[in-house]
């Protein structure tokens, strides 16, 4: 029931997204008809193409047509690929999902591991090292990190492919590029969250009744400390997607993030609208999943 209500609530959000995207792509200077016609085409062709695409009509009229089509599941045809937008989106999304999933696993494992370590060893050299790692992870441009990984692991050592898609070996470098970014933030968040929980009375109680520190950490501290970390993960998805653009570009990864950016550069209106709408949907669903996960991890949280 709760899930259904949340999904229904998403509908107005998605409609607002369609409107904002629809209008804003048309406000940016640039003429899709000219891009389609090519540089050597005369103005008559450009004008005819603009008419074919319906771009000569008022923006609001175009929007009404667009929404009428969407309700039948038709997102239009991509100007650039000349294929249905929904088909392009569904073709490209799995690669991004695959990359994001691997990156999330990497950032969770590294982030929680290091974060816990530095909380437990608070004030030590290792703790300070974590801080440096976290700052580096967040502030290193993905572009730079990706190129360094390629030069070290592909060109110099020859261990992994420099780019491409297909096997798990192709996945490692892009997933690391994306995952290390998330790991830094998660490590810092985990650390402060654990330190906070360690101050709680129930932790002192558990310790004073003679439980071993490891057991306390696992059963009492981590369970409580990780709830905010999971929220963070949901929110970070947006940052992941924007970083995925660069990662997919550098590694030649055939995902949807890159397609969105090239669609903007090509002024491929239907494709921009389709991908942004899809990514908004993914964002909403992910955050819903995170909220549901909450109640599983912490039985105190229940939704009416």
């Amino acid at each position: 029931m709760y899930v259904l209500r949340r999904l229904l609530e998403a509908v107005p959000v998605l409609i607002a997204v369609t409107f904002i995207v629809f209008v804003s792509v048309r406000l940016v200077p640039g003429d899709p008809a000219r891009t389609i016609a090519g540089p050597e085409a005369g103005d008559a062709t450009v004008e005819a193409i603009r008419k074919d695409l319906g771009l000569d009509r008022p923006v609001l009229a175009q929007y009404v047509t667009f929404m009428a089509r969407i309700s039948t599941g038709d997102l239009g045809n991509s100007y650039y690929y000349k294929t249905p937008v929904l088909q392009e989106v569904l073709r490209r999304f799995p690669a991004t999902l695959y990359l994001a999933a691997a990156a999330i696993v990497i950032s969770l494992v590294i982030g929680i591991g290091i974060g816990t370590l530095s909380a437990v060893m608070r004030g030590s050299l290792a703790d300070r090292g974590t801080l440096i790692f976290a700052i580096a992870g967040v502030s290193m441009p993905s572009f730079w990190l990706a190129l360094i990984l390629i030069i070290v692991f592909a060109v110099n050592l020859g261990w992994l492919p420099a780019g491409g898609y297909g096997t798990w070996r192709h996945l490692i470098l892009p997933a690391l590029t994306l995952g290390l970014f998330g790991a830094g933030t998660i490590a810092r968040f985990t650390r402060s969250s654990i330190l906070e929980v360690l101050q709680q009375d129930y932790v002192r109680t558990a310790r004073s009744k003679g439980l071993r520190f490891r057991a306390v950490l696992r059963k009492h501290v981590l369970r409580n400390a990780l709830i905010p970390v999971i929220t963070l993960l949901g929110l970070q998805l947006g940052a992941f997607l924007s970083r995925a653009v660069v990662t997919e570009t550098v590694f030649g990864w055939p995902g949807i993030a890159r397609v969105t950016v090239t669609a903007v550069l090509d002024r491929d209106f239907p494709l921009i609208q389709g991908t942004v709408l899809w990514l908004a949907l993914v964002f909403i669903v992910t955050n819903l999943v995170v909220d549901v996960l909450y109640s599983l991890i912490d039985p105190r949280i229940r939704y009416a």
Partner: protein, 503 residues
């Protein structure tokens, strides 16, 4: 034992699998479609040239020569072109190539409701196409258009299978059927595209068994993939990447001159740039030779014409030598000091090889001379097109123009004819009635000599009028593994792999 282990290791790591017979080509951008009549991207042309043939094709030196057509005949009035087709040519789907196929291809292009990059070439000039006999086809033009053979040799004129047109309709681009040396096998969007040798190719089977294209947008990754042996051919390598690859014994770099002229269009509608003496002064104030040596290489010539040397109709007119003294005198004659002039200089960033660097170098030269320059860079070319060409043209804009038909009509009309003044892509707003007339008259000339003479006269006037700062014709650098041979790049920047081999 040791060898077995070494082989196993090699297999696991993916080495040793370098299938000779499979050529791995890296492309930089997403392929749009493989339909010849509705696409403008260079990378999909790098695929289409292997799948399709036209009636004519271009040689590496830019001459239109017979391909599917065996011979042709042009009527004395220059209106009708009759082609005799090769006999025994088959499409990949088994359909025979005949006059009906040619008619179906061009009638599709001439459909009233079809408006594409392809129709833009043919609709204004081509009146009708008709079958004369099984292997003879006749094209009728609206009026004489001497560059018609070059136009037919464009990839837009590639011949499509009538059976496949019938079967696939508007999704032809996803099921491309041509007569070319390689046939389409598989296309995984955004990732790779596979072609396989077509054994019934009319010119005999191609040397390679397979071509695999992969899409890798980032230039440094393409270079890395070539270095690690994961790719065989990369296109449009920038000069600084080429420098990185130059010492690698396993990689060969090839530089090809293209038809793309680089120039800074001067906005003639504004003072003081409406004064020809000021424009001459600007040309003399910039050390173009020095910029070419520093950025592109000493082998590349400074522009001595608005056309590239490999374009039909090109004539060597003159270069503007670097001479600051002369530039100052010319400005003074026009009533200006360098410090009186401010130039809003616009440039794309990332569209042409080293475009922003080039613009900055020119700006530096002008600043040193005493002129104030404000640079505006456009990372987004779609924005540059509209802002620059339609809304407001700044004072100077960097443009690279590549006539894909490789002849002077394509190289002059759209950028220097008065019809186009103030529109895309005559962004100087250049309109000289004599030049206009010469370009028009050249279309109706029936002999090469006659056309060449008209174009030479036009180029002479344009060089004197100096609507641009003339720079150079852009070469392209291709890099490939040293065991790969015969990678052909046409002056129109197209990749042709018909005779490419791999040891």
């Amino acid at each position: 034992m040791k060898r077995t282990i070494a082989m196993l290791v090699a297999l696991v790591l993916g080495f040793g699998l370098a299938q000779s017979g499979t050529l791995r080509v890296l492309l930089s951008s997403q392929l749009s479609t493989l339909e010849p009549q509705n696409t403008t991207d260079t990378d999909s042309a790098a695929v289409r040239y292997q799948i399709y043939n036209g009636l004519l094709t271009m040689t590496a030196s830019g001459q239109p020569v017979a391909d599917l057509a065996q011979s042709w005949n042009i009527s004395d009035d220059g209106i009708t072109y009759t082609f005799t087709l090769r006999d025994g040519v088959k499409f990949h789907d088994g359909t025979p190539l005949n006059a009906a196929a040619v008619v179906a291809t061009f009638n599709r292009l001439l459909e009233p409701d079809r408006n594409t990059s392809g129709t833009a070439y043919f609709k204004p000039i081509l009146a009708s196409v008709e079958e004369v006999s099984e292997l003879q086809v006749r094209f009728r033009l609206f009026e004489p258009f001497a560059p018609f053979l070059n136009t037919l040799a464009l990839s837009t004129g590639h011949i499509m299978s009538p059976a496949a047109i019938e079967q696939f309709g508007e999704s032809y681009g996803e099921h491309p059927i041509g007569t070319g040396p390689y046939r389409f096998v598989e296309w995984v969007r955004g990732e790779r595209l596979v072609l396989e040798r077509f054994d019934d190719y009319f010119d005999g089977p191609a040397p390679l068994a397979r071509i695999e294209y992969r899409i890798v947008p980032e230039a440094s990754t393409r270079v890395a993939l070539l270095e690690t042996g994961e790719a065989d051919v990369i296109l449009r390598v920038s000069p600084d990447e080429a420098a990185r690859l130059a010492d690698n014994g396993h990689i060969v770099l090839e530089t090809t001159p293209t038809s793309r002229v680089m120039f800074l269009a001067i906005n003639l509608t504004r003072a003081p740039f409406d004064d020809v003496r000021v424009r001459h002064a600007l040309n003399h104030a910039v050390d173009v030779r020095g910029i070419i040596d520093a950025l592109i290489g000493p082998d590349v010539a400074q522009a001595d014409s608005p056309l590239a040397p490999n374009v039909f109709g090109y004539a060597s007119i003159k270069t503007y030598e670097h001479d600051e003294q002369l530039a100052r005198e010319l400005l003074a004659e026009a009533g200006y000091q360098p410090g009186d002039i401010t130039i809003n200089l616009w440039s794309p960033n990332g569209r042409y090889v080293q475009d922003a660097t080039l613009t900055q170098a020119v700006a530096q030269e002008l600043e040193d001379f005493g002129i104030h320059v404000n640079i505006r860079l456009f990372g987004d070319f779609a924005e540059y097109l509209v802002t620059g060409f339609i809304e407001d043209r700044g004072d100077m804009m960097l443009v690279g123009w590549a006539p894909s038909s490789l002849e002077a009509e394509g190289g002059l009309y759209q950028i220097l004819h008065g019809d186009r003044a103030g529109q895309f892509a005559n962004n100087s707003g250049y309109n000289n009635p004599i030049v206009n007339r010469l370009i028009e008259e050249a279309r109706a000339e029936t002999t090469d000599e006659g056309r060449i003479a008209k174009y030479a006269e036009a180029q002479e006037i344009i060089m004197e009028d100096a609507p641009w700062i003339f720079l150079y014709a852009q070469p392209v650098i291709t890099a490939h593994a040293s065991n790969v041979h015969n990678v052909i790049i046409l002056p129109s920047e197209q990749l042709v792999l018909r005779t490419t081999t791999k040891e």
